[in-house]
Each structure stands twice: as structure tokens, then as C-alpha cells.
Amino acid sequence: MNWVIDIVLLALLMFTAVTIARLRGLFSAAIVAGIYSLLGACWMSVLDQPDVAFTEAAVGAGISTVLILVTLSLTTSEEKEPKHTPLLPLVVVLITGAALIYGTIDMPRLGDPQAPTNLHVAPRYIEESPHEIGVPNLVTAVLASYRGYDTLGETAVILTAGVGVMILLGGARRRRWRADDDKRDRA
Amino acid sequence: MSPSTAIYAAVALPLVGAALVVSLRRWPNLREAASLITGGALFGVVLSLLPHVQSGARPEAQVVEVMSGLWLAFKVEPLGMLFALVASGLWIVTTTYSIGYMRGQHEVDQTRFYAWFAIAISAAMGVAMAANLLTLFTFYELLTLSTYPLVTHHRTEKAMRAGRVYLGILLGTSIGFLLLAIIWTYYLAGTLDFRPGGILAGTADNWVIVVLLALFAFGTGKAALMPFHRWLPAAMVAPTPVSALLHAVAVVKAGVFSIMKIVVYIFGIELLHDTGLSIWLMYAAAFTIIAASLVALTKDNLKARLAYSTISQLSYIVLGAAMATSAGVLGGSMHIAMHAFGKITLFFCAGAIYVVAHKTDISDMRGIGRTMPITMTAFFIGALSIIGLPPMGGAWSKWFLALGALEAEKAIFVAVLMISSLLNVAYLMPIVARAFFVAPAEPAPGDDDFAGAPQGTVLGANGGSSIKEAPVFCLVALCATAAGCLALFFFADDLYQLLTPIVNP
């Protein structure tokens, strides 16, 4: 692996992520988020996962961005100035991040052929699936056979999301909303 | 009828009665007949168990295994027999009385009243015959819940507040303390069965026993040990028949009965007697006896005074249990019956006065004995029994309690009993004296409560307008219980014979 590409890509990813966090304009944030996904996809292909990279580019950078842009056109594209200092979120995030970094210390190094992930389960896919399934692309083979039920579940997720969007946006509904309920509900 | 069938019948009959009452709600006469017939049948069923128990048998019935090793089960032993007899017998009398009272008062929702009353009696039967603490607790809670609609019968703001106190204290103590004590006992002893000699001996340190005893004593809120007595005066907002049967007999006796049973069959008399761990409970009970009597003195409302009197009298029984001597336990147990007859008579009289004269305050009852001689005579008899004077049943239980105190070498409690008796005289006798020997106040013009009371049973041709007795159903009932007070004095030996096995297994 070319570690120069690796470092450059990661630096770019970091740059875009921080940019998104700092941006006020939602439109630009959406575009930069698309770029972020694209960079992620590049990194994935560098890490030998072209199938995932394609999907991420199409779904993450493509569909997601389009969805956000459509939403922006239906709502608003400017974020308001925050009114409170985000101290608590910062603390939570820092603790979570610190915990994760603590967790990496004992992890196998990137690309280590002796890592447990490369010794257990995966070898069988690599060795047996050409005979058992007969598809050269291992990702496809595993996706369609060994872990086919995840794929079924994935389809169900798409169905759910579709139904959800139909429920939420299908036809203009008028909500029956009573102002007096609000006051009384607060004891 | 086999004994176990009789046990099932005793618990189920009142429920059937309740169903009948509801289905006959359109025909009040039939409805009341249903109550009475159920009461009669129940008493017959309970009575059919008596020979078995007297002959030393302990009829049992196991219903269902709730958790592994924990059954919903019944087993009749002398103490439970006594309680069941008293509660079921007095139910008939109270139903008779209720007919007169509820109709005389034109109470609303009478169907609901009779139905919940029957359910409460079923719960009381369950408490009386419970074979283990789990069953006891189940029916104890059922009793609390089924009497709640009776206490709040009038659905007024005042009734609702009283209901809160009632439920708050009874559920609070039972869930907070009693349940904890029961589960703790189960954890220590591995069983919850009532066994002669107790199940806790040798399972725990002394401090645990003391804590458990405290949890049991205060957790049984129905026993109205101070400071958890407030529910009883609050419950007086209920119609008088409720106060009479439930809050002088079934509910409160379920409380002291539970404590007695726990002392005898869970701790075991020997454990408490030998270690002297219940001494603090004796003092607590003594405090309640005296303090409640003193409070009773200050109450002008008759039912309130009777309620505090009940609180005081209940602690006699707790005291008897805490003495953990055979005479103490016997005295306490006998007092369950003695006090029941005495106090129910007093409540009946209070209700009768209210029905006829609409008077609740003692200060208004001047000369009432002249217009209601039978009622007030019965009141006098009941009062004597409560005070503990011969020839009333109450004399015996006090006698045994005093013996028990001596047996436990705690003479101070003999003194407590004496002082308490004096206080009883002080708060009961003035009522009688005022009723008979003070001239009635002139009815104020326009005050037609008294003069025009339409419900009275007019007795005697010459008595004419001056004698206005209670409705005849009420009169019959209160005469019967007053007679009971007398009879118990003469038949105390039978009671003694019945109860002896609990201390000499």
C-alpha cells in the first residue's frame, strides 16, 4: 500500500470533516459532506474494497447528497447562530474519543496478516467460496450466500425507509393540533 | 361437606353472594335477602369446621403453587377458626343492621355497598384460614383494596381524602414493611408456612429477629399500632355498618390476628420469650394503649372516640402477642372475640343514634337514653365489656392479659392495663351517664332532625312521642351483639378450650 496516498487522503478527510463542522451554510455543508463521502470512497478503494467504494460513492456521495439538497430546497438553507456554548457535547465527545483511542492500543496494526480477522472465518471465504459459490468476487459471494440474510435484512431496511417516507410525505396532511393540550400537559 | 370443601366454600361463598347482589340490583328486597342467606350459609360452613378443629384436626386445602414451594393454601387452626367464626357470625348481624341503616339513611349505591362488603368478607375469610404468609398477605391486600370503595362510599371530597389516608397507610405499611419482612423470612427460613413453634428459631441473629418483628408489627398497618393508626379514624367517614363490622371486627382484627399468628407460628413463642426480644413491642403497644385512650377522651365525635378506643384495644392484643407467654397469647386471642362483640355493639348504637336523631357529637346526646332506651342499654353493656367488667366477656381477656404480664414478670403492664381500664371508664361512661341522667335539650324551633325523624320504630303505647327507637333491623342487631357480650362471659371456657392448643401444641 502506498502510505503517502493514505496519509494525504486521511488529511483531506480530516480537513473536510472539520470544515463541515465549522460551516454555517447548510447548502455548502451538504456539498462538502458529499465530497467527504467521495474521499472516503477513495480511501476504501485504496484499502482493497472496490465494491464498497463504488457503493459509498453512489449512495453516500450521490443519493445522500441529493436527499439533503432536496430537503434544503423544501426547508431552509441557512443555519442559525448557536445560542449556547457546546461545552457538554464537547466533553462527551472528547471522552468517547479518548475511550476509543485507548481501545486502539491493543489492536492489531493496520494490514497485519496475523490479525485475528485474517486468521479466522475470512480464510475460509477466500479458500472455499470459489468452489462453493463459484463467483470470483468474494464480496459478492459472501453477500449473496454466506451472509445472504443480512442482504435480506438490508432489503427490508430499504422497504422500511420507503414506507416511512411515504407515510411522512405522501400527500399533504393537515395535523389536528390543539394549542390547549400543550398548556395542560405541562403540570 | 368435607373440610377442604368447606374451606373453599368459606372463601368463595361471599364472592358468590357479591355476584348475586349485583345481579339482583333491581330488586332491593331480594338483594338483601341474598346477602342474608349468603351470610347464613357462610356461618354454617365455618361452623361445620369447628368440630374438626376442636378435635385437633387441622383441615387444609391447597389451591395453587404460585412460585416453586410457595402455595396459595389454607389451613384452619384454632386462632383462624376463632377469627373466621367471629367475622362470619357478625356479618349476618351486620347485614341485618345494614338493611335498617342504609334504608333509613337513604344511602346511594346500596348495591355497590353490599357487593364490596361481601368481597371484603371473602378476603377476611382468606386471612383467617391462610396456611402461610404468602396467602395471608394476598388476602390482607385484597381486604385493603376491597374496603377502599366502602370507606369512600359517599364519593365526597372528604371521603376521597380519607380514602387516601386509608390506602396510603395500609398499602404503604404492607408493601413497605410487611412484604419486605415476608420475603426476608422466606430468605431466612426457606418457607412461609405457619408451623407450631415457629420457623425462624435458629435462622438468624437476634438483631435480625428484632428488625423482622418491627417490620411485621408496623407493617401490619391494620393493627393500628401508633404511629400508623391514622387510617382508622379516617375510615370513620364510611357508613356506620362499615365502621362496625370492618373497622371494629374484620379489618382491624385481620391486623392483630396476623400479628398474633406471626408471633405464634412464625417466630414461635419460645423464641421471643426466651430471648426477650419483643420487650420493646410490649412498650410500644402499652404506649398506644394509653395514648389512644387519652386521645379518645378528647374526641367529641362519637365515632371518632370509638375509633381511638379501637386503636387502644387493638394494642391489648399486640401486647398479648408481644408478651409471648401462654396466658398473654390466650388473652390476646380471646380479646379478638371479646372486643369484637363489645365494639360492634357500640358502633351499632352510634349508627342507630345517627339514623334516628342525626347526632354525631357526644355533647349533643343529652338525654338520648330516654328516647332510645334499648339502644343506650345495649351501649351500656358494650361499654362494660370494653372496660372489662364482669359479667361481660371483656373481663376474661383482660384477666388473662394481666396474668400474662405477671407470667412474663413485667408487672408494669398490669398497671398499664389498670390505667387503661380507668381511661375506658372515663371516655365511655360519661356518654351513658349523659344519655340517661341529663335532661334532653329543648329542640330548637325548626330543628326537625330529632322531632320529625321519620324512621323511628315507635315503641310502647304510653311512651308516645318521647320514645323513638332505631329501625327494627338495627335494634335486632344491636341487641344480638349486646347479648353476645354477656354470653361470652359465660362461655369463655369453650373459647379457652378451643384456643389452648396454640400455646400447647
Binding site: 490479525a115 422497504l159 | 385484597l142 371521603a159
Partner: protein
């Protein structure tokens, strides 16, 4: 033949029925389909339970690929127990729902979408429970989560939308945390199968990575099950969702999360790791206790009764976690049996609320005046559920409390036992507020519609089936506490 394929049938039935709803569209047909499918699903879960009780755990290899290479469905006593609860509640609520949603969902012709989402949610919850594969958990978690966000958003009040949105954010964060946890475990072991994972974790249990994975899984699941203080999404979600949705989710969704917690603690990481090495109870027990007390207290001050019951749910989840944190057979039995029992009683209570919404349009405490006379059966069901929540004997709530208190005493933690019982008293307060209003106050003057009537039989009957269950399982506990005890014993790896 069918017998062998029960596990997959359990999932496929609702999963296939969901898109069918989209195709059929006709309101009556879809409703009938949903009701029929949920009942058959329930029958399947009961059959699975019977099989597991007879033959021991079932392992089902999806697509014929043996684990750990393929995905395994694994049904043991615990998962069968939860399956029965989830599918049973699913069936009862589906049967109850038609009348309710015809009032609460404004657009009549879109009922098929509701049932589609409902069946997907059921599929997701059942899938989480039955699977033996970590990643499969994540996938089905998302199915159930996405559909429940949508279902909640269907509420009449506009706050249903914001409630669904915050649930979505919290839920997705939770799911992502779980995903991170799964990833870290995968990194350290190379496997995703739970049983295989349990074996392989033994060697690497000391690594920091595994400990961090453990923490992330717990936090993720705690978010999902609304463990105090991560419960903030729950009250609004339950208060503003359509009544049928509230009843279903309150009785199942958080329970499945608790199930997941049990799976992670005991099956994947094992008792030694979770409780001996990590001393988990030090964190769990205080959180559970504080949650029980605060949520019960807050519940007392709510005027929207659905919201009140929602806070009560947070408290009840505290009970379950408390039971788990004892890590003893009694404690786990208490936790597991409470999972089941609380499902029964909370579902009953929310169904009663649904009946009231159906007739009165609101569950504000003022609307409930005089309902004791107007809707006697509905209110009686509420009282039954309420008594069970309090823990009155002969109801299921008593059984749960019994085991929990016993477990606390076994470990000498009598203050904890005190807290359990004290919070029962808080339950008395908030339940009795409703009872007093319903039975003591005069009904509100009705504006021109005539007096409020009792709910229709189509709602009363399913609700009373649950009431009957509350009392039945409150008296004989062989099927609940007995099974829970076996499940607890097998989780702890001891012979009962």
C-alpha cells in the same frame, strides 16, 4: 418438516406480509392479513418455546451455511421467552388496533402503510431476539428502529414529529455505538457469531480493545432501552405516538433491548468478564436505582397520562436492570420475569389509554373525570394494570417484585430492597391520581355529542385478554417465573 424451519418462519411470516400490505392496499384485507399473520407468528413462537423446552436450544443455519461462516439463528429458553412476549403482544395489539387507528390516523386510505410499518417493526424485534450473529443484530435493530420512528411520527400531535426525530437521533447514535462495539470485537476475534465470539473472547479478554468494545455495546444498548439517564427520548415518543404504537413499543421495544443486554453480558462476554472483571454492577445498580426513583417521582407530576406511564416505564426498566445487576439466579429471574410481566401490564395500561383516546380524544387527566362510570370496563382494565404496577399480590407485578426483593436480600442489600418497595408506593400515588379522578369526579359536561360511551368490544376483548393474563400469571408462575428461572440459570451457567 415445518418443525425444522420454525426459526426462519418466525421472521419470514411478518417480513413477507409487510410488502404484501403494500400490494393489497385494501383496508379490510390488509387489517385482516396483519391480524392473521401476527397470530400465526405468535403460534410459531409458542411452538418454538415448546420445542426448546423439550429438546434444548435450537440452532438454525440460515442458507445451510454452518456458523461462524454463515448466519445462525439460535433459540434458547431466554430468546424463546422474549419471542413469545413480543409476538404475543404484537398479535394482541394488532387485533386491538383497527378501531383505534381509524380515529387516530387521519387518512383512512393509508392504513396499509401503518400495518406495513407495524409488521416490519415486529420483524425487526423478532429478528434481534432470534439471531445468533452480532451483525445481524445490527441490521434487524435498524429495521425495528426505522419502522418505530415512522410509527411514532404518525401521532396526531405535531410533537410526535419532534419526538420521532429525537428518538431517531438517539436511536441511531445507539445503533452506531453498537456497530462500533461489534467492529472492535470483530477486530479482536475475527468472528461475528455470538457463540464463537464467546469462545474466542476468552483469549483476548484482557485487552483494552475488548473492554472499550464492552463499554460501547453497553452504552448503545442503554440508549436503545432508555436506561436512566439515557431515557430522554422516551417520554415524548410514548406520549405522542398513536396509542396502538405506544402500547406495542412500550411492551416490546425496550424489552428486546434488555434482552440484548442480557445476551451481551452473559452469552457473549460471559459472567466472569462482565461481573467479576468489569464489576459492572457498580455502574448498573446505582443507575437503576436512581432511575427507578427519579422516573417514578416525575411520573407523579404528569397530567398527560400516557406521559405518566412513559416515565413509569423508565422506572420499570430500572427494575429489570437492577435484577440483572444482581447477577444471581434470583436477580436475573426477577429481571427476566419482570421483562415479561411489565410487557403485559404496560401494554394493558396503554391499551386502556387508547380506548380513552378513542372515545374522548385525549388522555389528559381532566378528560378522565367520571370515566369510571362511563367506561367501566376500560377503567377496570386500567385499575388491573395499575394494581399490577404497584405490585399487589395475585398480579404479575407482585411476582416480579418478589424475586427482585429476594435477590436484594440474598446479597444483604436491604436498602435496595427498601428502594424497590418504596418506589411501589410512588406507583400507588400516580396510579391513584387517575383512579380518584375517574371514580370520584363528575364527568365533564359534554359538548353536544352525548355522554362518552364504553369502547367497542373489538378493543375491549384484546385488552381483557391481557388483563386475564395479568391475573393468570400472577397466580401460577410456572410458565413465567419458572421459565425465567431456567433462563437465568442457563445464562449464569449453573444448574437450577
Amino acid at each position: 418438516m415445518i418443525d425444522n424451519h420454525l426459526p426462519i418462519l418466525q421472521i419470514l411470516l411478518p417480513l413477507v406480509a409487510a410488502p404484501l400490505c403494500l400490494l393489497l392496499r385494501h383496508r379490510v384485507v390488509v387489517t385482516a392479513l396483519a391480524i392473521a399473520v401476527t397470530w400465526v407468528t405468535f403460534a410459531v413462537s409458542v411452538a418454538l418455546m415448546a420445542t426448546v423446552l423439550q429438546q434444548g436450544p435450537i440452532s438454525y443455519e440460515l442458507g445451510g451455511w454452518p456458523p461462524p461462516w454463515g448466519i445462525e439463528y439460535r433459540v434458547d429458553i431466554l430468546s424463546a421467552f422474549v419471542l413469545v412476549l413480543v409476538s404475543g403482544i404484537g398479535a394482541v395489539v394488532a387485533t386491538w388496533s383497527p378501531a383505534s387507528i381509524s380515529v387516530e390516523l387521519p387518512r383512512y386510505e393509508r392504513h396499509y402503510l401503518f400495518y406495513c410499518a407495524y409488521l416490519l417493526c415486529l420483524t425487526g424485534l423478532l429478528g434481534i431476539t432470534i439471531t445468533g450473529d452480532m451483525f445481524n443484530v445490527f441490521v434487524f435493530l435498524e429495521i425495528s428502529a426505522l419502522s418505530s420512528y415512522v410509527l411514532i411520527s404518525m401521532g396526531q400531535d405535531r410533537r410526535a414529529l419532534t419526538a420521532a426525530y429525537s428518538y431517531l437521533i438517539m436511536g441511531t447514535l445507539g445503533a452506531t455505538f453498537i456497530l462500533i462495539g461489534i467492529g472492535l470485537l470483530y477486530i479482536m476475534t475475527g468472528t461475528l457469531n455470538m457463540a464463537d465470539l464467546a469462545l474466542r473472547l476468552q483469549d483476548v479478554a484482557d485487552t483494552r480493545t475488548v473492554i472499550v468494545a464492552f463499554a460501547f455495546l453497553i452504552v448503545g444498548v442503554s440508549l436503545k432501552m432508555a436506561l436512566f439517564p439515557l431515557h430522554l427520548w422516551l417520554p415524548n415518543a410514548y406520549a405522542y405516538a398513536p396509542s396502538a404504537v405506544t402500547a406495542f413499543l412500550a411492551a416490546t421495544a425496550t424489552k428486546v433491548a434488555v434482552y440484548l443486554l442480557l445476551r451481551f453480558f452473559f452469552t457473549v462476554f460471559g459472567y466472569d468478564f462482565s461481573f467479576d472483571r468489569m464489576q459492572l454492577w457498580i455502574v448498573l445498580m446505582p443507575l437503576a436505582l436512581i432511575g427507578i426513583l427519579t422516573a417514578s417521582l416525575v411520573a407523579v407530576f404528569q397530567n398527560n397520562i400516557k406521559r405518566m406511564l412513559a416515565y413509569s416505564s423508565v422506572a420499570q426498566i430500572g427494575y429489570m436492570v437492577l435484577g440483572i445487576s444482581f447477577a444471581s439466579v434470583s436477580g436475573l429471574t426477577g429481571g427476566v420475569v419482570h421483562l415479561f410481566n411489565h410487557g403485559l401490564m404496560k401494554c394493558t395500561l396503554f391499551l386502556a389509554m387508547g380506548c380513552i383516546v378513542y372515545r374522548c380524544g385525549s388522555v389528559h387527566i381532566d378528560e378522565m373525570r367520571g370515566l369510571g362510570r362511563r367506561m367501566p370496563w376500560t377503567m377496570a382494565a386500567f385499575v388491573a394494570g395499575g394494581l399490577s404496577l404497584i405490585g399487589v399480590p395475585m398480579t404479575v407485578g407482585f411476582i416480579s417484585k418478589w424475586f427482585l426483593v429476594k435477590a436484594a436480600l440474598e446479597q444483604g442489600l436491604w436498602p435496595v430492597a427498601g428502594v424497590i418497595l418504596f418506589s411501589s408506593l410512588l406507583a400507588v400515588v400516580y396510579i391513584w391520581r387517575v383512579i380518584e379522578v375517574a371514580y370520584f369526579e363528575e364527568p365533564l359536561a359534554v359538548d353536544g355529542q352525548g355522554p362518552v360511551r364504553e369502547a367497542p368490544l373489538s378493543m375491549l376483548i384484546p385488552m381483557w385478554v391481557l388483563v386475564a393474563a395479568i391475573f393468570y400469571f400472577g397466580v401460577t408462575t410456572e410458565l413465567t417465573a419458572g421459565i425465567a428461572q431456567q433462563a437465568a440459570a442457563s445464562l449464569l451457567g449453573v444448574v437450577p
